[in-house]
């Protein structure tokens, strides 16, 4: 069922990660994700894995949900690691036809797998512990300097939060329309590619119609509440950094320092 997608879901809670300022989390996670791709040897990779494990544990979200989000990219991971396995350079340790296994290839495959898995785990961890509203708030605040070059920061943030808000609604709507068309004998899961694509028409058209209807409704509702864009708008909840956030930034600096030092002083494995 379409509703079972775990990726991007928010789980309310009161863990350390939940309590952090969303700006700290956003900056921290982006920095960590960038850092994943700056690891070139095993000690550096170990730091990232350790940090990821620590964050997952401190978020307090059942591990099952992380597995669910990993399941989605399982095939991508398998294909990329297989490709990397046989594309390494150097002395082959095993060869069959054009497939050449090298130590370099094995290292590459390990790195790419660990990197993608960490990437998905970290981004899931962020969305699991941060509500969409907090996330867009953080983005709006962080992009505020762009206002000076007349970039519509508030409008973009509003669009994002509206889009996020309607993801579950539209999924539910899709489900309902699918049921209704199935009840009229629509055959959704047999036949070749063209037949299946055509079978989507009875679902997509009503879905678009209802998306537009909802868009008009929400526009009217916003106007009724005198919404007039971002200028001069105050917030009910202002974001505030605390000691916790400062500690996080210190930890982040240490992690970045650790990885950079490993990269500089230790031999690269790939």
């Amino acid at each position: 069922m379409v509703r079972d997608v775990a990726f991007g879901q928010y789980f309310p809670g009161s863990s350390l990660l939940h309590k952090l300022d969303p700006r700290t989390k956003l900056i921290g996670f982006i920095a960590l994700i960038a850092l994943i791709f700056c690891t070139f040897n095993y000690p550096a990779l170990a730091i990232i894995v350790g940090v990821t494990a620590f964050l997952l544990l401190s978020g307090g979200i059942p591990f099952k949900f992380y597995l669910k989000s990993l399941k989605v990219i399982l095939i991508v991971v398998l294909i990329t690691s297989l490709l990397n396995l046989f594309y390494g350079s150097g002395e082959p340790i095993w060869q069959w036809w054009i497939l050449k296994l090298t130590w370099n290839g094995i290292h590459r495959a390990i790195f790419v797998t660990v990197r993608i898995v960490c990437l998905i785990l970290l981004s899931s961890c962020l969305t699991f512990t941060t509500s969409p509203t907090e996330l867009t708030d953080a983005i709006e605040r962080l992009m505020k300097p762009l206002n000076t070059i007349h970039f519509p920061v508030h409008e973009i943030a509003m669009m994002m939060s509206l889009a996020l808000r309607f993801v579950p609604t539209l999924l539910e709507e899709t489900d309902k329309i699918m049921q209704a068309q199935k009840a009229r004998g629509a055959d959704l899961d047999s036949g070749n590619f063209i037949r299946r694509a055509r079978a989507l028409v009875p679902i997509l058209i009503p879905l678009f119609v209802s998306a537009f209807r909802r868009a008009y409704d929400i526009a009217t509702a916003m106007e009724c509440r005198c919404y007039r864009g971002g200028t001069g708008r105050t917030r009910m909840k202002t974001l505030r950094m605390s000691g916790r956030d400062a500690a996080c930034f210190v930890a982040l600096a240490l992690i970045i320092g650790g990885v950079v030092l490993c990269d500089i002083f230790l031999k690269a494995a790939i």
């Binding site: 049921q179 209704a180 199935k182 009840a183 009229r184 004998g185 055959d187 009875p202 209802s210």
Partner: protein, 289 residues
């Protein structure tokens, strides 16, 4: 008369094996005769929508069986699509399923999926349009140009055109104005009389149910609470109120009068019936002539 639909210990569990596990339908057994018009009532979340969606195989029961004409509908899971033509299902707010260029094509969608072609298809579409009171000139319009009530009727026609043996309507009158409700309801009665098919009507309006149903099925907290003749069910006003339902207003008034010691039958279902009963009573007592 023979049973067209038979439910045997039917249960449905949402999210089995997760912390969100919830029993939506719990051990429901009943049988529905060919040609009956059954009203289905129950509080929001009582399991009535889940129950009806199991009847045409849109949901697979966790336990138990649905027998259609004596045969288990899940006997051959590959043939479940055929069941959906035999048990027609009209969802809540069905107008949101319209998608074709013209009303005609949209009504024909289900029937064409069933395999009808040519004159047969044309006949089915026009007949269904007639039942739901859509004028022939409306058939060439885009479904998105119709009014709300007309859209609803076009969507219902799309299911009727498949000529199902059992027609299930999930709150067909929700959100319509009083005129639209009245019209749609009388069309359903007309359809039922003329075709002699089995009709299941889910509704929150006790007045509607009291007017049309032969028997009423009451769901409460996933369980079958009652299934009896309409008059018997609405005679149990107290019990219905305990589970958050009510009886038609006129039934309630007549019951109150009866409690005052006035000699009235214990279950009066419609305003017309109440009028007749009261006027004959007053005549008997010589109050009016």
């Amino acid at each position: 008369m023979s049973a067209i639909l038979e439910l045997k210990n039917l249960s449905f569990v949402y999210g089995a094996g997760t912390p969100f596990e919830k029993k939506a339908v719990d051990d429901v057994s009943l049988s529905i005769e060919q040609g009956e018009l059954i009203g289905i009532i129950g509080h929001t979340g009582s399991g009535k929508s889940t129950l009806v969606q199991m009847l045409n195989g849109l949901m697979k029961p966790s336990q138990g069986q649905v027998l259609l004409g004596g045969k288990n509908i899940w006997e051959n899971p590959k043939k479940i699509r055929d069941i959906r033509f035999r048990v027609g299902m009209v969802f809540q707010y069905p107008e949101y399923q319209l998608f074709e260029e013209t009303v005609y094509k949209d009504i024909a969608f289900g029937a064409a999926n069933k395999g009808l072609t040519g004159d047969e298809l044309d006949h089915a579409v026009r007949r269904a349009a007639e039942f739901t009171g859509l004028r022939p000139d409306m058939l060439e319009k885009s479904p998105f140009d119709l009014s709300g009530g007309e859209k609803r009727r076009a969507a219902i026609a799309g299911v009727i055109a498949m000529n199902p043996e059992v027609l299930i309507l999930d709150e067909p009158t929700a959100g319509l104005d009083p005129m639209g409700r009245e019209l749609l309801l009388s069309q359903i009665i007309h359809y039922h009389k003329e075709k002699g098919n089995t009709v299941l009507l889910v509704s929150h309006s006790m007045e509607d149910i009291a007017r049309v149903a032969d028997r009423v099925l009451v769901m409460n907290r996933s369980h079958l609470f009652m299934l009896d003749r309409t008059r018997e069910v609405f005679a149990h006003g107290d019990e219905l109120e305990k589970i958050g339902l009510r009886v038609p207003q006129v039934t309630k008034i007549m019951q109150a009068l009866r409690e005052q010691g006035i000699d009235l039958p214990d279950s009066v279902l419609t305003v017309d019936e109440a009028f007749d009963t009261l006027s004959s009573l007053l005549q008997r007592e010589g109050k009016i002539w």
